[in-house]
C-alpha cells in the first residue's frame, strides 16, 4: 500500500507505550491521515515487556492484524535490548529509535542492525522537564524529527490539544510534556 507507515512500540508496562501510540494516531488522524493505534493485550504487569502498534496511511486501512514488518521501531526502555528482539521483522532500510544515553553506533553494534538508528535520552529529558521518567512523550518528539512522519509545528499544535483533554485534571504537566517533546526533537542523535 502506498504511503503506509507501520510502527511497533516496545516498552515496559507503565511506561506509556500504548498512550504514545494512541497519541500519535490521534494527532496523525487530525492531520488527515488514516490511522490505527492498538496495543497488544497480554498479561500486563508493571515492568513487563509490552507492545503497541501504529499504521498511518494516506489510504483507507482495512488490515486488522498485528504489525510484523515495521518500518519504524520505538524502544522506550534500553534494558529491553537484553531480552527482546526489537529489530525482528524490520527491513534493512528500517528505523529504530531508542531511549538510551548510548550513541547510535553503539546500539547498531549491539543489535547487529544495519538500518537507521537514532538515540535520545528520553528518561533524562522527562525527568528534568516533567519530574519523573515518562519516556513516551519525548519519544514522540524524537520520532517526528527522525522520520519526518508529520510536520512538527502541526504535530505540536494537535498534541497540545490532546494533552489538554488527557490532563484536564492536572494541567500543570502539560508544559513539561510539551518541553519534553521539543527537547527530544532537538536532541535526538543520528550517526
Amino acid at each position: 500500500m502506498a504511503n503506509l507507515t507501520e510502527i511497533r512500540w516496545h516498552g515496559r508496562g507503565g511506561q506509556g507505550s500504548k498512550t504514545a501510540s494512541i497519541l500519535l494516531g490521534k494527532v496523525a488522524s487530525k492531520t488527515g491521515k488514516n490511522i490505527q493505534a492498538f496495543p497488544e493485550y497480554g498479561p500486563e504487569r508493571m515492568g513487563a515487556p509490552v507492545l503497541a502498534f501504529n499504521r498511518i496511511s494516506d489510504e483507507k486501512l482495512t488490515v486488522h492484524c498485528q504489525v510484523y514488518s515495521p518500518d519504524i521501531v520505538m524502544v522506550l526502555d534500553p534494558t529491553l535490548l537484553e531480552s527482546v528482539d526489537v529489530d525482528e521483522g524490520v527491513p534493512a532500510d528500517g528505523t529504530i529509535i531508542i531511549n538510551t544515553t548510548l550513541q547510535p553506533s553503539e546500539i547498531k553494534e549491539k543489535l547487529g542492525f544495519d538500518g537507521k538508528v537514532f538515540t535520545v535520552d528520553a528518561n533524562g529529558i522527562s525527568t528534568e522537564e516533567i519530574g519523573a521518567p515518562f519516556p513516551n512523550t519525548p519519544m514522540l518528539g524524537a520520532l517526528i524529527k527522525a522520520t519526518g512522519l508529520l510536520e512538527f509545528e502541526g504535530f505540536k499544535t494537535e498534541i497540545k490539544k490532546e494533552f489538554e483533554k488527557k490532563f484536564a485534571s492536572k494541567p500543570e504537566v502539560i508544559d513539561g510534556n510539551m518541553k519534553s517533546i521539543e527537547r527530544a526533537y532537538q536532541e535526538v542523535k543520528s550517526e
Binding site: 492498538f38 493485550y41 486488522h64
Partner: protein, 393 residues
Amino acid sequence: MSNQVALTGNEAMAQAMKQINPDVVAAYPITPQTEVVQMFSQFVADGAVDTEFVTVESEHSAMSATVGAAAGGARAMTATAANGLALMWEIVYIAASTRLPIVMPVVNRALSGPINIHCDHSDAMGARDSGWIQLYAENAQEAYDNAIQAVRIGEHEDVRLPVMVNMDGFIISHAVENLELLADEDVKEFIGEYTAEHTLLDTENPIAVGPLDLQDYYFEHKVQQAEAMENAQKVVVEVAKEYKNLTGRGFEYFEEYKLEDAEIAILALASTAGTAKAAVDKLREEGVKAGLLKLRMFRPFPAKEVAKALSGLKAVAVMDRADTFSTIGGPVFADVRSALYDVKSDVEVVNYIYGLGGRDTTVEDLEFVYNDLQGIVNSGEVNKRVKYLGVRE
C-alpha cells in the same frame, strides 16, 4: 453534519449509545466490553443522556432488568461479552420470545474455557439460535453504524426483536481508528421516538408479560418469532438504504469486494474481512481472480442472496471464528453450504476455523487460504473439507 474522529471501537460504541440516548441501560462490566459501560455511566453522571442507568450484580440481572424496562415500554439497552453473555443465557431467549426490541452491543470474546479474554465469535455464535438479530462489523465505523440502525430494525412493527451488535474484542474494541460520527440531532431524527404498542405501564390496557404458554399457544408464538425474523430481512434492507442516504455508508446483508468477476472467494465476517481485502488486493495484482463476501447480517441468514452471490464461483472458503465441535465445520459454514445446496451450484465450499482465542490472522494466512482454493480449482479435488487455520501442529 458528520464529524471525523479517531476513536477505539468501545469509544465509538459508547458514543452511539449516548446519541441513541436510551430510556434505560442496565449493564455489568466484562472485558473487553468494560469501557463501553464505564464511558456510558460517565455520560449518565454528567447528565449528557437522560438514561436511567441500572447497576446490577450480574449479567443475568442486567438482561433481566433490560427485559423488564423494555416490557415497560422503554427503549432499553445493555452490552456484554463472552462469559457475560453466557450468564445472561436464560433471559436472552426470553427477550426474543417476548418480542422486546433491545439493542445489545456484544464485544466478541472467546468463551471459557480455557479462560481467555481475546476475540473469537464463540460467544455470539452460541446465541445464534436465541432469536436475536445479529449484525457484525469490520471496523469501529460499522459497529457504530450498526448500533444506530439496530434501534430502527428491532423496533419496527413487523419485527419487534432484539438485536445483537457485534464488534471484535480488542482488535476493534481497543484499537483507535478513524471514523465519522453523525451529529446528535441526525441520530435522534433517524431513530425517532419509540412508542411500544403494548406495555406493562399502560394501565388503560393491562397486559401480562411472560405468562405460562403450554401446548396450546407456545408453538404459534415460536412461529410468529420466525415470521418476525423473515420480516427483519426486508426491514434491514430498508433501514440500510435510509442510513446510506444519510451517511453515504453501509451495506445491506453483506459487502461484495471484487466478487463480481472472481473465481475464488473468502466469506468472512467482522475484522478479518478487512484483512482479507488486503489479501484480495495482493492477489489481484498477481492476476488471481480473488474476491470477498463480507457478511454483515448472520441472523436472520440471507440464504438466497448469499447463494446467488457465490453460486457462479469455482471455490469458496467460509471463515468461522468459532467451532461447533460437530466435526463438520463451523456455524457460518453450515448455513452457507446449506444455502448453496438449493441452487445446485458446482462451487466447492470449504471451511476454515481460525483465530480462536484471539490468534492473530494475518494477510499471509488469508493468502494461504486463497492459494488453497486455487489448488482446489486446479485439481478439482477437496482433500479436507474443514481445516484449522494458523494452528500449530
